[in-house]
Symmetry: D2
C-alpha cells in the first residue's frame, strides 16, 4: 500500500483526491491537513465520503507525520509548497504539487505573475512538469512533480501535435477556453455565488491570466521556439469541465490532421481522439481522467480548430496528480483512474 | 464472470447500468438491445463509455442470445417485460426488471394505473419486489425481480422504520418529493427541454401518479394494515437526485427517533442515517448507490419529518438493480457499488 | 413624482427595487445608501442598470437626505430599520421596510427568534403588515409598513381562503416550501456558492426557521384562532422563485374549492388562481409581481393540496414593497408592476 | 395604435414578441397564427402572459386577417416567409421577418446554405437587412425587413468599428461564440433536453453554420472587401444569452480602441460600450434589447479581442424586430424597449 498525505485538503482538488483515491487499490490516505479545520472529521465536511474515510480528521501540517508518507500531495494555494518542500523532500517522501509553485522553470517569470518572490528556486532544477504525455520518463524518477494547471493541460494536449511537427504557425495561436465554476475553487468570492454565476457567461482576465506563461512554456517546448499565444478564459455556468477551442494556422493543407492526432496519442491511456467531425462535450469526461480531442479544418481553410475537453478537477488536477503518482511509483499508470465519466 | 444482457439500453437507466457495470469486477455485458438503434455502437451514443465498451453494439432483442446470459436487465418502458419474461425465464436466465411491470402484486391494480391489461399475471406469484432492506431473503432465490421505482425507494426507506414499529399514524402520511429531470427519461418531451425545466420548480401529477400504488403497497406491508398517503412529486432543475420530505404523525414523543433509524439500518450497506439535526443534500449521493436519511421532530410536536435522498438513477434504478443481482447470485452485495458520490 | 430613498441598496432586494422602479412612471430614486460601497456608482455594481441610473452613487445613510424623500425603503438586514425608523418618521417620510423588523406584532416573540432585543417596540402599534390582500385598508394610511417575507407571502396567500372560512383543520397545517438561492441574499456564504448549490436539493432549518412565527401570526389572524404549522423550507437550484406546497385537512368534501379560491381573489390584481387541475411553475412569475395558485384534492380525500408560486424577489419582496407604496400614496396599485414574467 | 399580426407564434421568439409588445404603448396584437395550435388560448401555452392576452387564440394563417395589420412579424422556420410575403405585401402591410428568408442578398448563396431553392428572389431587391446600427435610413422606408440572426448581430456589432475604419486585417477574423440553449428553439430535439444540455459545454457545426454567410456578408459590407472568417458556435448551459469573443489582427497599435468604439456607438440607444478593461456578462442583458461591448488588446500585442453580449431572444431576435418596427413606423426607436435587464 502507498501511504499518502494530503496538505490542504479542504478545497475541491482535495476532496477530489479523496474521492479518486477511494477507488485506488493501492492507496491509503494516512494524513490530511487543514489549519482552519483542525479536528473536523472529513466526512462531516464532505458527506459524499461517508463510509470511506469515517475516521479521518483534518490535522495541522506536521512534517514528521507527512514525512512518513510515501507521497505527499499539495492541494494548497500557491506559496505553501515553496515553504515546505525542501524539508519534506529531506525526509525521503515524494511531493506531487497541485499548486502552481513549481510549474514554471523560470523563477523570475514566476515572481512576475504571482506577485511575490519565488520561495524555493533551488528546487526548480529537479522539479518535473507532470504532463505524462510529454514528460513520462522524467516523471518516473521524480521526487518533486508539478502537476499542470487545468487550462494548461487542455490547451497543451490540443496543440502539441501540431507544434511538435512544426505544422502550426507559432506566432498567432489562440486559446479560447471555457471553464466550469469549480475552477475558481471553494473560496467564498462574490463571483462564485450561484446567483452571480448561473445563467450567464463571461470572459475574465483577458489582459493576462496566470496560466498564460505556463501554457506558453509548454507550447514553446513542443515547438522548439518562441510562440505567440492569446489566451482568453471564460466562466461557464457548470460545476466541472473545461472546453478549450484552439485556433492555429496550418498552411499545409495536405496534412491528414486526424491521422496526426491519432498517431500522437495512440499509446496514451488518457487522451482520446474522437472520430473526424466530432464535437466533444465536457460532460463526456465528468469525473473521469481523460482528455477528449477533435480536430477540424473549417471550410477547408488554413485555420485549424482543435476542440479539447477535460474535467478540470480530474485530468486538470487530482486525477492527473494520481496518474503522476502511479508513474512515479512504478504502478500501472491506469490504476484507480479507469472509471467512466458520469453521464447524464 | 456473470454474463449480462440488457434489454432497452438506450435510456438513462440503460447507460447507467453500463457505467456501473464497468466498475463491477464480475460483470461482462454480452448483449444490449434496442430496436431503434440496431447496429449503432454504444460508445457513439454514449461517449463517456469510450474505452469501456468499444465493441458493443445495440442489437434487436433476441431470446436465444439473451437466454445465454446469467442475468437479463430490462430497462424498458412498461409492458415490454410482460411480453418477454415467460419465454426468457424458460431458458433459465434470471430477470431483473427496472420497469414497473412486476412491482404491484395485484394485476387489477396494475391495469387501473397503467391503462392496459397486465400482460403476465401468471408470473406475479414468483416476482419478488427488489427492495433489499425489506426483502433480502426472497431476493436470494428469485428468478424474477421487480426493481422498485425511484420515488418508492426513497419514500419507503424513509417511512418503514416508523411503520414497522407502529409508531406513525398510518392514515395521513404525506410524501412531498422533488426529483431531478432524468426521472422523466431520455424521451424528447417538451417539458424535459432545458429551457422549459431549468430555473423553475413545479409539482405535477398531484391528482395521481403511477408510483402512488407502489408506495402504498410497500408502506402497507410495513404497517401491516391499510395506509392513507398523499404523494406530491415535483420536477426540480437538476439532472439527478430525489429529495423526499416525509411527514407522519408520531404521537409518542418518548421515542428516540434517531436511535430507531440507526438501529433499523445498522447492517444495511446502502442506507446511511445521518447524525441528528442533519439535512441531507441530493448531491451527496450523486452517482452512488446509497440512501441518506435524517429524522426530525420540529418544535417538539407530534409531526415527524423524515428527509430521504437518493440518486434516482442509482439507488432509485440501476444501482439497486445491480445490488439485487449481487444478492441473487450470492456475490458480495457491495460488489461494484462502493464508489463515493461525485461532489462537487 | 414620488421621491424615493433606499437604505441598504447593495443586496438583491435593493437592485430589484431599482429595476422595478425604473419602470414606474411616478418614481424617482433620490438616494441609495451603503456604508461599504460609499461613492461607488450603482451601475458599476449592477451593469444591468446602465442607462437608467448612470448618475446614482451609493452614499452613507443620512437622515436629512432620507427625510426629504416621500418614501424610504429599507432593504437591510434585520435590526437596521429598528435603529433608524423613529428618527425618520419624525421627518414626515413614510417607511416601507423589507426586513423582518416590524413584521411580528409581538416584540418578545421577535426577540426570541432573532436573538436580540427588539429595537423599537414603541412603533409596533402603528406598523402595518403589508400584505395587501389582507390589509389593504390599513396600508392606505400607514406611515410604517412591514413588507411580508417571501415564504410568508406564498404560504399565507395559499392558505387564507381555507382558514378564513373555517374549512381547514388548523392544527396540522404543513408548508413544504422550495426557494431559489437568491432568497439567501448576496452574502458570500459557502452554501450559496454555485458549486455547492447547483445540481442539488436540500431542506434546511427544519427545526425552526425565522419565517415560522410570521407565517403562524398571519394564519392565526385568518383563522381567528391558534394554528399548528410545520414549515420545511428547501434550497432549490434556481435563482428566483418560491414554490410552496401546502397541505391542509378539509373534511367537508362538498366545498367547491376552485370557486372558493376564485371568489376570494376575484378583485386582486396580483393573485392569479389557475384553472382546476393546474400545476403552476415558478418560471411563470419570474420577475413579475404575481402569486399564482392552484388547488387540488388528490384522490378525492380529506387532504387538500394548494400550490402557490411567487418570485421571491418581487411579490416576495421588492414588488410587493412597491405595491404597498402605490396603495399608501393613493396611486393605482398596479402602477409599474404590470410587466409579464420572463419566460423562457 | 399599431395593429400587429404574428405568424408562427408558438416558438420562443413568438412568445418573446408578445412579452415585449405587452410593454409597448402603441402596440396591439390583433392576430397570432399557428397551424398546430389552432384555437388554443395563448395564455394556456404561456401562463406568464395571463392577464395580458387573455382573449388571444392561435389561428390558422389567413392573409385577409393579416393584411389588415399594419405590421406582420414572421417568427417562423425558414421558407414560410418566402411563400407568404408577396401576397401580404400586396395588401399594403409591412413585413418584419425574424427568419433567415431575406437576410442574404444572394439567392444562390441562400440556396446553398439552406438546401432548397430561394422561394422569393424577386423580393430580395427591396428587402432591407434590419441592423439599425448600420441600416437605419433604409429601414425607415422599408416594407420588408429581414431581422438579423442572433450570432450575426453580436458579431457584427463587435467587429464593424474595426472593419469600417480599415483597422483590422480582414483575412483571419475569428468569432468564438457561446449561445444559450433557447437559440436552438422550442423544438423537442434530444440535444435540447435538460439532461443533455445542462452542466456541459460543446462546440457544434464547426464545419459550417448557416449564420456564417450572413455574418460574412455583413462584415464585407463594413470592410468594403472580402473577409475571411472562422465562426465556431458553442452550446452553453443557460437559457438566454450570446457571448461572442472576437479576434482580429489590428497591427496599428497607436489606435485608441476604446475611443473608437465609444464614438462609433455614441448615438446608438441599444449598444453600450463598457469602460476599458471590462468583461460583460450575458446576464447583464437578460431580457433587454441591448448589446454590451468591451474591447481589449491583451499583452499589448497585435491581436485585439472584442467581447460582445446580447440576449439572443431580444437584441438577437424579437427586441430588434420591434426596434425595426419603431424605426419603420416613425415611432421613437426606444419605445417599449427601455426596461432594464433582469439580474440576478
Amino acid at each position: 500500500m502507498v501511504r499518502i498525505g494530503i496538505v490542504g485538503g479542504t478545497g475541491y482538488t482535495g476532496v477530489e483526491l479523496l474521492r479518486l483515491l477511494a477507488a485506488h487499490p493501492q492507496a491509503r490516505v494516512e494524513t490530511i491537513t487543514s489549519r482552519s479545520e483542525e479536528g473536523v472529521r472529513v466526512v462531516d465536511m464532505y458527506p459524499n465520503l461517508r463510509g470511506h474515510y469515517d475516521d479521518l480528521k483534518f490535522s495541522v501540517p506536521d512534517t514528521a507525520a507527512l514525512g512518513q508518507c510515501d507521497v505527499v500531495f499539495f492541494a494548497t494555494p500557491h506559496g505553501v509548497a515553496h515553504s515546505l518542500a525542501a524539508e519534506l523532500l529531506a525526509t525521503g517522501t515524494r511531493i506531487i504539487d497541485l499548486s502552481a509553485d513549481f510549474r514554471l522553470s523560470d523563477a523570475q517569470l514566476w515572481s512576475k505573475w504571482y506577485g511575490q518572490p519565488h520561495g524555493a528556486p533551488e528546487l526548480l532544477g529537479e522539479a518535473v512538469y507532470g504532463l505524462p504525455e510529454v514528460n513520462r520518463d522524467a516523471i518516473r524518477n521524480a521526487r518533486l512533480i508539478a502537476v499542470p494547471g487545468c487550462y494548461p493541460t487542455s490547451v497543451q494536449l490540443g496543440l502539441i501535435p501540431l507544434l511538435e511537427k512544426g505544422l502550426a504557425q507559432p506566432d498567432n495561436l489562440i486559446a479560447d477556453c471555457k471553464s466550469g465554476v469549480s475552477g475558481a475553487g471553494r473560496g467564498t468570492n462574490l463571483g462564485s455565488l450561484f446567483c452571480e454565476a448561473t445563467e450567464s457567461m463571461k470572459a475574465y482576465a483577458v489582459g493576462g491570466h496566470r496560466h498564460l506563461p505556463e501554457i506558453r512554456q509548454g507550447l514553446q517546448r513542443a515547438a522548439g521556439r518562441e510562440v505567440g499565444l492569446t489566451f482568453v478564459p471564460h466562466l461557464t455556468p457548470m460545476i466541472r469541465g473545461i472546453h478549450s477551442t484552439l485556433y492555429a494556422q496550418v498552411p499545409d493543407r495536405s496534412v491528414d490532421l486526424q491521422q496526426l492526432f491519432e498517431e500522437r496519442y495512440a499509446n496514451e491511456p488518457f487522451v482520446d481522439v474522437l472520430p473526424a467531425g466530432s464535437h466533444p462535450e465536457t460532460r463526456s469526461v465528468r469525473g473521469a481522467n481523460v482528455c477528449r480531442l477533435a480536430v477540424h479544418r473549417p471550410q477547408g481553410g488554413d485555420l485549424v480548430v482543435v476542440l479539447s475537453v477535460i474535467d478540470n478537477l480530474v485530468k486538470g488536477a487530482s486525477g492527473q496528480a494520481i496518474q503522476n503518482m502511479n508513474i512515479a511509483l512504478g504502478l500501472d499508470e491506469r490504476m484507480g483512474l479507469e472509471l467512466p465519466a458520469l453521464m447524464p
